[in-house]
C-alpha cells in the first residue's frame, strides 16, 4: 500500500521475531547474565495491526462541500510498545514504557480525498515507586509525548483526518508534551486500596497547516500551542477472589490555547472549561472457564472561554457546548482446554449535546455509537500470547442546526465500520 506502512509492519514483526530468536540463540555465558538480570527486570513487547473500514452518509468533516454523497475511508494502524519493570532495590519499583507505531489513512469522500502515511507520535513513561513506608506507597511519574508524527497536513492530505469514533487515529501529530504526576497509594485493608494523585501536563507548540490568504491554498504554516492542564485524581480499588473492581474520579483545569494570528505569536484562542471524569472497570470469574468484564467512563466539562465579538478577549460561552460523554465496553470470555480464550464483546458510547453555539459558530451534535464483535486469545507458550478481534460499529449523529433561522445545515448522519485487529504480546 505504501512504503511507510510496509516498513512499519516489517519493523513490528521483525522486532518481535528477532527478540524471541535472540533469547534462543544467546551463547551460554551471556544467557547466564541475562537470567541474572531477569530476576530484577521484566520486559514485555506488545504489538498489534488494526484495520478500519468505514462509510457514512456525509464524510468527515461533515460540513465540507459538496454536502451530498456518501463518505468512506480506511485506516491501518500498527501500534507497538515496550515495557520494562524492575526492582533494582527491595524498596523501589521502576516502570518504563515506550510506545510508538505507524498509521496509513485514506479518506475517499467526494470533496474530501486525502491520504497520509506516517509514524505516530511516540509516548514515553517512567514511574518510580517507593515501597519502604508502612501504610502508604508514594510514587512519581513522568510522561512524555515526542513529536515523531506529522502534525501539519498540507493540501488535500488534511482530509485524511477522520472521526475518532470510527478509527483509532483521528489525528497524527502534536508537539512535545511533558506530564509529571505525583501520588500515593494507601492500602485500607488487604483487599481495598485508595490512591490520591495530582498531575500537570505541559503541552508544547507545534506546526499546523494553514490557509495562504494570497493563493487560497492550504500551504501556510500556523503555530499552535494547546493549553496546559492540571488535574487531581482519587481512586478506589478492590479485589477479592474472582472479583476485582476499580473506580476513579478526576478533576482537570485547562489553560488558554494559543495560535499565531493577527501578527501575534501567542494569540489567545480559547480556554477549555474544567472537566470532571469518572471511570472504572470490573471483572468477575464465574469459574476457571467463564469470566466477564466491563469498563467505562463519564466526562463532563464546564463552559469554555471563547473570543468575544471584538476577537480580543475571552469570555464564557453563552451555553455549554461540551457534550457529556458516556461510554461502556463489556466482554464475556470462555477458556477452552487447549489454551484458547474466546468470547463476544459489545460497546456503547453516547454524546448527549445537540445545539448551535452562536458565539463560536460551532456545532455540537449528539452522537450514539454501538459496537459488537468477538475476540480470541491464544497462549502459544507461557511467554507468548496472540490475539485477534473482529468488530462491527454503528454510528448515528444527530442533525447539526445551522445559523439562524436554524435550518439544518447537516442532516442526521449515520455510518458503520468494520474493525479487524490482530496482535501479539511477548514477555522476556
Amino acid at each position: 500500500m505504501n512504503l511507510t506502512f510496509a516498513a512499519a509492519a516489517a519493523c513490528a514483526c521483525a522486532c518481535g521475531v528477532s527478540a524471541s530468536f535472540a533469547a534462543d540463540l544467546q551463547p551460554m555465558p551471556v544467557k547466564a547474565a541475562v537470567q541474572s538480570i531477569d530476576q530484577l527486570w521484566n520486559i514485555s513487547y506488545n504489538s498489534e495491526v488494526r484495520y478500519f473500514s468505514w462509510q457514512n452518509t456525509r464524510g468527515f468533516t461533515t460540513d465540507v462541500a459538496p454536502l451530498n454523497g456518501r463518505g468512506g475511508g480506511t485506516q491501518i494502524y500498527a501500534p507497538m510498545s515496550l515495557s520494562l519493570t524492575g526492582n533494582p532495590d527491595p524498596n523501589w519499583k521502576l516502570e518504563f514504557v515506550a510506545r510508538g507505531g505507524f498509521v496509513s489513512s485514506n479518506q475517499s469522500t467526494s470533496g474530501q480525498r486525502g491520504y497520509v502515511g506516517t509514524a505516530v507520535d511516540t509516548q514515553l513513561s517512567g514511574t518510580a515507586t517507593y515501597n519502604g513506608f508502612n501504610g502508604f506507597q508514594p510514587y512519581v511519574a513522568m510522561l512524555i509525548n515526542a513529536p515523531t508524527g506529522k502534525s501539519a497536513l498540507y493540501g488535500n492530505s488534511r482530509f485524511a483526518r477522520m472521526d475518532g469514533d470510527l478509527v483509532d487515529q483521528g489525528t497524527y501529530g502534536e508537539g512535545w508534551n511533558f506530564g509529571p504526576t505525583v501520588g500515593a497509594s494507601i492500602p485500607l485493608t488487604k483487599e481495598l486500596l485508595f490512591t490520591l494523585s495530582g498531575g500537570y501536563t505541559s503541552r508544547g507548540a507545534f506546526n499546523k497547516e494553514g490557509l495562504d490568504v494570497v493563493t487560497g491554498l492550504v500551504t501556510a504554516t500556523d503555530r499552535i500551542r494547546n493549553g496546559d492542564e492540571a488535574s487531581v485524581t482519587a481512586a478506589l480499588g478492590f479485589g477479592r477472589g474472582p472479583f476485582s473492581a476499580q473506580a476513579s474520579g478526576s478533576y482537570a483545569m485547562g489553560r488558554v490555547s494559543q495560535s499565531n494570528e493577527f501578527g501575534q505569536f501567542n494569540y489567545n484562542r480559547y480556554q477549555v472549561g474544567p472537566r470532571t471524569t469518572i471511570s472504572g472497570n470490573a471483572s468477575y470469574a464465574f469459574n476457571e472457564m467463564w469470566s466477564v468484564s466491563a469498563n467505562g467512563f463519564w466526562t463532563h466539562s464546564e463552559r469554555n472561554q471563547v473570543l468575544d465579538i471584538t476577537q480580543l478577549f475571552l469570555i464564557p460561552e453563552l451555553f455549554n457546548s461540551n457534550s457529556n460523554l458516556y461510554r461502556i465496553d463489556t466482554g464475556l470470555s470462555y477458556r477452552f482446554g487447549n489454551g484458547v480464550t474466546a468470547g463476544p464483546i459489545a460497546g456503547y458510547l453516547y454524546r448527549d449535546r445537540n445545539g448551535f453555539d452562536p458565539v463560536t459558530f460551532g456545532f455540537v451534535p449528539a452522537k450514539t455509537r454501538w459496537s459488537a464483535g468477538g475476540v480470541v486469545n491464544y497462549n502459544v507458550t507461557n511467554k507468548i500470547n496472540i490475539n485477534a478481534k473482529l468488530e462491527r460499529v454503528w454510528l448515528r449523529e444527530n442533525e447539526n442546526p445551522g445559523p439562524p433561522p436554524f435550518t439544518p445545515l447537516v442532516p442526521f448522519l449515520s455510518g458503520d465500520a468494520w474493525v479487524l485487529a490482530g496482535g501479539a504480546t511477548v514477555n522476556f
Binding site: 510498545s81 505516530v120 509516548q123 492500602p187 500537570y200 471511570s279 466526562t299
Partner: protein, 99 residues
Amino acid sequence: MTITTALLGVALGACLLASPAAAACPGGEMKMADGSCFGNPALATSMRERAVLMNQLKIGYNLPIAPRKDHRYPRNFDVSRFEYSQRGNFSTIPFPPSP
C-alpha cells in the same frame, strides 16, 4: 515549569527524607500500616497506572500503555471534543475543499 518542579520536588523529598520501615515485601510491593504485605500486588500496579494516566489524558492522542489496554481509559478525543472544532491538534480546515 514551576509547578512541574514543585511536584517533583515534593515527591522526591518525601521519598528521600523519610526513613525506611520494616523489611521489604516480596516483589517490592507495598506494606500495610502494621508492616504486613498488601495482598494484591496486581491491583496495586493497575491502580498506580490508572492514577497516573487519569492525570495525563492530554499527554498525547495516544497514552503510553500497551496497545492491548487501549480501550481501558478515555482518549484525548473523548475528553474535550470542543478542541476538535478549534485550531489545534484535532481541528481540520474544511475550506477550501479539495478539487
